[in-house]
């Protein structure tokens, strides 16, 4: 059986609100948990194939130019070396962007950025391959590169699709009672998933099987097939467990094509795992940004103007630009509005999507500006936001599909004890620490992406879910099992979920916070179809069917699911975005409240307390959803306080290309966070009535911290991250 739904009209009633299994939304443990905690979950590099060889990538040691010559002779004579594999036409120069359906930029004779892979050295053992890769002699012709953003920003080119303007921003600013006009900057950042990019390639005849560490298998398959000139049917990708992605694994990266070509050339499976340094240098980064935000408000504290104009960087030929002002467009009202992004062309590693592209950095500026505006107006920051929530999209005039932002702000403020905050900066000391409170709103656009799944009822009455969806830590295995269990009346342990294999129906993949809703909706639709089939077998109307605890009941009939005719009993379903995506503003919302300490002597910042309240439609599993939000919030902590990839302006190389000097938050940087979800349903989003939450936590989190830092010590830092060197000169004297 097949079925599909295009979301052209809101779903008035979700089956999940009327079924009886009482498993949806419950905070159950991850179904794959016992495998993960015992080390039995296998990630890409952990599969073993007979004859497998080890490949290590060689990266360019210049920032711009070309490869004049690779002298492989010396290396090929080294112990264990099986070959130096390169293909100046086919090797990937850049990683693929998320959701691309074609190969990314290929061709590695030209060097577009420091560290760009140019060859793969393959040997019998990893140790041999690593040394040989380091010994490979490459001669370069150096070219002139663009490595200094400050020097290049004057040559920025507008990205037309991002430009929009209404009203007269300058006039509104001139007439304003209160205004803010400032420039915020954020640095290059990296996703730094704990599992490095890895591919294990082997050929079965003319077909490629690749164990990879990727987020979106159905498009990764298209990218890989296109890059290798293969029919898509000849490529199979498997990624059953993925050690984090956060955007860096949305598209295929260099190690995939290198492994595939080497396996072909050498006639044996080849595994390529990037070193951590290579993950920094050659996958994808979040662009640095320069953001000018202008806000104007009248005497009532109502916004009259909102402008958010941004610069981001990318390589030549790469269209992606961080949609920095994404949430600014709809979060607050104001009749006069200007938005736009310009791209600065830089010879630095690819810029692409990293967790919450847009909101993650854009909200730092917007919510920082709102904090400054509140102070100028003498208004409480929560109150300023409450006064400016628009009834409809201030630009397009579309309605919101659901928006519980006001409730998040008020409930969050109450629970946190916000009313006790001292508005005066540098007024509270705890020992040698200035204490401050700050807040910010959170908003992240909600999306639905075409996604398919097959659900089958097995002869033993258990269910099997199959889709090429991935679980990158997002809880997909678990929530798909919960949806199925809820709709088919099964225990979760009676649902098997098989993910991460392109032989299964193509899914949305994990990205953009759309994974659970998209893949979950396809599973929902398949289960809905199965319910109809079961009702048919029982000879009645599906509306009278009750499935619970493994039994199908209808009127006086009660049949174990195992007794149904399951030969076969399966349904493949597809969800597709439709007009509700165009007729509504869809976003998840929230509010962050934070308490920080700023050391009065050194300027060290420590997060002491952080509470966040979110509304994101139906929460599919409160436990995994809470964890997702923690993850986003901690990304926010890192972005606000510690994370910065430093590019050397002489050659664009990332100087702090390891986890010792790129400072991800460690356990001690994170207090015991609190997350609360408000009850909400979003009927325009999907049949689950759920919205995405994977990126909601990061949105605004850093701004709440920056605002708290100001409240603590009276120093506004608009240049992220807020490291102590940016505070120390302006710290107030101790009383």
């Amino acid at each position: 059986m097949e079925t599909s739904l295009k979301m052209d009209v809101p779903v008035q009633h979700s089956l999940l609100d009327s079924t009886n299994q009482n498993i949806i939304s419950r905070p159950i443990d991850r179904v794959e948990g016992p495998l993960k905690v015992s080390g039995q979950a296998r990630y890409a590099a952990e599969f073993k194939l007979p004859g497998m060889a080890h490949g290590v990538l060689v990266g360019a040691q210049i920032g711009k130019g070309s490869v004049a010559r690779i002298d492989a002779g010396g290396v090929e004579a080294m112990a264990g070396v099986l070959g130096v594999v390169t293909d100046f036409d086919l090797f990937l120069r850049n990683s693929a962007q998320g959701m691309a359906t074609e190969a990314p930029c290929q061709g590695v004779r030209e060097i577009a950025y420091f560290g760009q892979p140019i060859a793969l050295v393959v040997a019998t053992t990893f140790e041999q391959a690593r040394h040989a890769a380091q010994a490979l002699e490459v001669t370069y012709e150096k070219g002139e590169g663009r490595f200094d953003f400050d020097a290049e920003q004057g040559k920025a080119q507008p990205k037309d699709s991002t430009l929009s303007s209404q009203g007269d921003i300058d006039a509104a600013l001139a007439q304003a009672h209160g205004r803010v006009d400032g420039v915020w900057t954020t640095p290059s950042q990296t996703s730094a998933a704990m599992e490095p990019h890895a591919s294990l390639a082997h050929w079965e005849g003319d077909s490629l099987v690749l164990y990879g560490s990727y987020q979106m298998l159905s498009t990764n398959r298209m990218q890989l097939a296109d890059a290798l000139g293969l029919d898509i049917e000849k490529v199979r990708i498997r990624a059953h467990y993925v050690g984090g992605g956060f955007g860096a694994k949305l598209g295929i990266a260099a190690e995939s094509v290198a492994a595939a070509l080497a396996a072909k050339a050498l006639g044996r499976p080849v595994r390529v795992v990037m070193t951590r340094q290579q993950v920094f240098e050659t996958t994808v980064r979040r662009s640095n940004t320069r953001q000018r935000v202008r806000l104007a408000a009248d005497t009532d504290g109502r916004l009259t103007a909102v402008a958010h104009e941004t610069l981001t960087a990318n390589l030549d030929g790469e269209d992606f630009s961080e949609p920095v002002s994404a949430a600014t467009k709809f979060l607050y009202g104001g009749a006069n509005r200007t938005f736009g992004n310009e791209i600065v062309r830089m010879d630095q590693v690819l810029s692409g999507s990293m967790r919450a592209p847009g909101e993650a950095v854009g909200m730092l500026a917007l919510e920082g500006a709102m904090d400054e505006l509140a102070e100028k107006l003498g208004l409480d920051p929560v109150e300023l936001r409450l006064r400016n929530l628009p009834d409809r999209h201030p630009g397009s005039d579309l309605p919101f599909s659901s928006r519980s932002l006001a409730e998040c702000l008020t409930i969050g403020a109450r629970d946190f004890g916000w009313p006790r905050r001292n508005r005066q900066p540098a007024a509270t000391l705890d020992g040698e620490w200035w204490i401050g409170l700050g807040m910010a709103a959170a908003a992240r656009s909600n999306m639905l992406i075409k996604s398919s799944a097959r659900v089958s009822l097995q002869p033993d009455g258990r269910a099997l879910v199959e889709t090429d969806m991935t679980d990158i830590g997002t809880g997909t295995y678990t929530v798909l099992a919960q949806i199925t269990a809820e709709l088919l009346g099964l225990r979760v342990e009676d649902v098997a979920v098989h993910l991460g294999d392109t032989t299964f129906p193509p899914a949305s993949g994990s990205g953009g916070s759309f994974g659970a809703a998209s893949a979950g909706s396809s599973v929902y639709l398949a289960c809905e179809k199965l319910r109809e089939a079961i009702a048919g077998q029982l000879g009645g109307d599906v509306d009278t069917l009750v499935l619970s605890d493994g039994m199908a009941r209808m009127g006086n009939i009660s049949v174990p699911l195992a007794d149904l005719d399951t030969g076969p009993l399966d349904a493949t379903a597809t969800i597709e975005p439709g007009e509700t995506g165009e007729n509504f503003v869809q976003a998840a919302f929230g509010a962050h409240f934070a308490e920080v300490g700023v050391n009065a002597h050194t300027g060290e910042v420590r997060v002491r307390r952080m509470e966040s309240t979110f509304a994101a439609g139906r929460i599919l599993n409160e436990k995994t959803a809470t964890s997702q939000c923690y993850g986003g919030i901690v990304f926010g902590i890192g972005g606000a306080l510690t994370e910065e990839m430093i590019h050397d302006t002489r050659h664009g190389a990332i100087v702090n290309r390891d986890l010792a000097e790129y400072h991800l938050p460690v356990n001690a940087d994170v207090p015991q966070l609190k997350v609360r979800f408000l009850e909400e349903r979003d009927h325009a989003a999907n049949p689950l009535l759920a919205k995405g939450i994977g990126e909601l936590g990061i949105s605004g989190a850093g701004a709440a911290l920056a605002n708290a830092v100001y409240n603590a010590c009276g120093v506004r830092v608009r240049d992220f991250p807020i490291t102590l060197d940016k505070l120390i000169a302006d710290l107030p004297d101790l009383p």
Binding site: Y43, G243, Y630, G631
Partner: protein, 168 residues
């Protein structure tokens, strides 16, 4: 080089390149892939194993240096059907997301609780000589050598606190 390693209570005869890290022996030679390679430089903690009862980064030691030592990996702590108390607590508290840093976290936590029991102070202990507490601050500090980019930190702390309380 010919050598024998005692891992999870069993002896393994090996012939390894002296350059091979303990981590790579576990993962590539013995198929004990529970120990993870996140950075290969001792900067993430995903490779943490127990060496004679103490937690170490298995990426930063050579296998050939460990003949005669007792090595315990995540596979030796428990199995899906018989989880150790910490493994079970990580599941119950959702002390992970992608799962990649998780074996290292659990090995680290296993030894860390023993360190607290032995009275070792930490950077955040007020009193160097007193018995350390099992506070969130102490757990966080002591677990800071295990980076979790999914940021399950609050849950990791809760999981460890739960097990630590039961033991003390």
């Amino acid at each position: 080089m010919q050598m024998t390693l005692a891992i999870n209570g069993a002896d393994h005869a090996l012939d390894v390149d002296p350059r091979t890290s303990l981590l790579d022996v576990l993962r590539d030679h013995l198929d004990l892939t529970g120990s993870k390679k996140g950075c290969d430089h001792g900067q993430c903690g995903a490779c943490t194993v127990l060496l004679n009862g103490r937690r170490i980064n298995s990426c930063l030691t050579l296998a050939v240096m460990h003949e005669g030592d007792e090595i315990v990996t995540i596979e030796g702590l428990g199995t899906p059907d018989a989880l150790s108390p910490l493994q079970a607590a990580f599941v119950a508290h959702d002390g992970y997301q992608c799962g990649y840093c998780t074996p290292g976290q659990i090995c680290s936590a296993t030894a860390m609780l023993a360190e607290i029991k032995a009275g070792w102070p930490s950077h955040v202990s007020d009193d160097l000589e007193g018995a350390p507490e099992l506070s969130a601050a102490e757990i966080s500090e002591r677990m800071s050598g295990n980076i979790c980019r999914c940021s399950a930190y609050p849950n990791i702390v809760d999981a460890i606190a739960d097990v630590g309380r039961d033991r003390s």
